[in-house]
Amino acid sequence: MAADVLLSVQGLTTVFDVGATPLVAVNDVSFDIRKGETLGLVGESGSGKSVTAYSLLRLVQPPGRVAAGRVLFQGRDLLALSEKAMCGVRGAGIGLVFQEPMAALNPVMRVGRQIGESLVVHGLASTRQARDRAVELLRAVKIVDPEKRVDDYPHQLSGGMRQRVMLAVALACKPPLVIADEPTTALDVTVQAQILDLLREMKRTFDLSLLLITHDLGVIAEVADRVAVMYAGRIVEEGPVRTIFRAPAHPYTQGLLASIPHGRTGERLVAIDGVVPNLAHLPPGCAFAPRCPSRLAECERAVPPDVRIDEDHRARCVLHAAAGAGAGR
């Protein structure tokens, strides 16, 4: 593990015990996040991107369970920690921002107390200090009149302000890593732009690493340094953001980029045929093969290897298997 790697996820596999055979929602997922870096985890609904985040925080509830893998964070394997030690990591080591702030915030608790709560829980501040810190954090996330807003309830705030409060909650203990799960999906586009600006700024001010989970490649292009693309539980491609947008290697990534409307009036959109497969009925080979325009006979036989295309770019696709060697992760 390189010195500047903050989080290293290795072979993470999460299954849901429903029905006769367990559903594999996250399948042998590996990635690193370096200090100060933003990794964008992109995928469509059901691809396993949110389950990945919940798995590494050990927040997956039964019938779901992490079946295999290691999550190395600051030198410790989070999956091997006691529940008590894990509680020390959540909030203090890794902050979490959810998609829907109205559902994630406590509706009957003033926002100031929610922001300060983790400081008190982790023994970092007294109740009075926590309140002062909450005001500072509200100011940091650009809430106007923080001294007044600190005593507001979530319903008194707009959607964008609630998401700012969520970010303040996540940043309270100055965690080195923040996981943001679709932080702008529920917001209007002008508010989304403000929150993305804020995320970028917070990254600098707080020297953060960020795992940004989203279905929107536009958001990825705006914020991420590197991108991992998930499909049916697996990472099918990973690389620097510029490489992924300029020279995507996996046909799924190519299809996703092509299906973003960007042309002029009246042009047809480029669609990916077919539907996202049901995890209970995955094809034996590459899960994308049934929809893939470049499919070969061998794609349907075995899961393609993780091919290293160049130093920091890999794709799970046989089209590149001849050119590169196995990624060997």
Partner: protein, 295 residues
């Protein structure tokens, strides 16, 4: 120049919020004097953010919500003056598809019955005729008639939106209001549904009002567009002209907020200064066919 199929003039919907026995409520002007017209065979876009009044405008046009004031003309006739039975007959020509394919289909009805229901209500055809028609509609929207006896939960989101579309098309409407028809769908599926809407428009000579918040999508399928902000249209004109030179400060802010899918593109965010918007400014022509509410 085509004749307009749909004309909306001064459409207004006020909701009263709060209030009670001893207290007067406050009036919310959800739609505040909206006017536009849609030519036959055209796709007209109505864009705005949440609370801008775009969905309420669409609902008022079909009288799913009764407007407070204004005029909605369909093929020259004033829809708002129709009696309820006349309105029911008129709805054959004007249909709506909704945003959420998960909540807009009755979960206890088979796909076949969902598509068949409007035919029964309007007493169209014998049982055999209807059965053939439902299968034909299923094929028309790209669904497999072998799945007719499935329930909504057995279909994916994109397929459910196709069922909603088949139901809307059952009565052979001329005009369809599509209210955020793809915003609940994954991006790869969005493109399929948008392409289908464009194909059907050509085949069936449909006229669309396309309500959306995604400007990239609107640019793709709408020849003309109106931008709504706080219940009013603040800018209207040819889509390409508005994208090329937005005249209203809100439109400029909205366009600059679209995430650019190019990591190297320069980012020039324009923030909206609320004071720069004059709420009583009338639409004036800033270029031929391009209107904006600016002084």
């Amino acid at each position: 120049m085509n004749t307009p199929l749909v004309e909306v003039r001064g459409l207004t919907k006020h909701f009263t919020r709060g209030g009670g026995l001893f207290q007067k409520g406050t009036v919310v002007k959800a739609v505040d004097g909206v006017s536009f017209s849609i030519d036959e065979g055209e796709t007209f876009g109505l864009v705005g953010e949440s609370g801008s009044g775009k969905s309420t405008t669409g609902r008022c046009m079909l009288r799913l919500v009764e407007p407070t004031a204004g005029e909605v003309r369909y093929a020259g006739e004033d829809v708002l003056a129709f009696s309820s039975s006349r309105m029911r007959a008129a709805r054959r020509h004007m249909q709506m598809i909704f945003q959420d394919p998960y909540s807009s289909l009755n979960p206890r009805m088979k796909a076949r019955d969902i598509v068949d229901e409007p035919l029964i209500i309007h007493k169209l055809g014998s049982k055999q005729d209807r059965e053939a028609r439902v299968a034909e509609l299923f094929r028309l929207v790209g669904l497999d008639p072998a799945h007719l006896d499935r329930y909504p939960h057995e279909f994916s989101g994109g397929q459910r939106q196709r069922i909603g579309l088949a139901r809307a098309l059952a009565l052979e409407p001329k005009f369809i209001i599509a209210d955020e028809p793809v915003s609940a769908l994954d991006v790869s599926i969005q493109a399929q549904v948008i392409n289908l809407l464009m194909d059907l428009q050509q085949r069936l000579q449909l006229t669309y009002l396309f309500i959306a918040h995604d400007l990239r999508l609107v640019r793709h399928i709408c020849r003309r567009v109106a931008v709504m902000y706080l219940g009013r249209i603040v800018e209207m004109g040819d889509t390409e002209a508005i994208f090329a030179s937005p005249a209203h400060p809100y439109t400029r802010a909205l366009l600059s907020a679209i995430p650019v899918t190019d990591p190297d593109a320069p980012r020039q965010r324009v923030d909206l200064d609320p004071d720069s918007v004059s709420h009583d400014a009338a639409l004036v022509e800033v270029a031929p066919g391009h209107l904006a509410a600016v002084r």
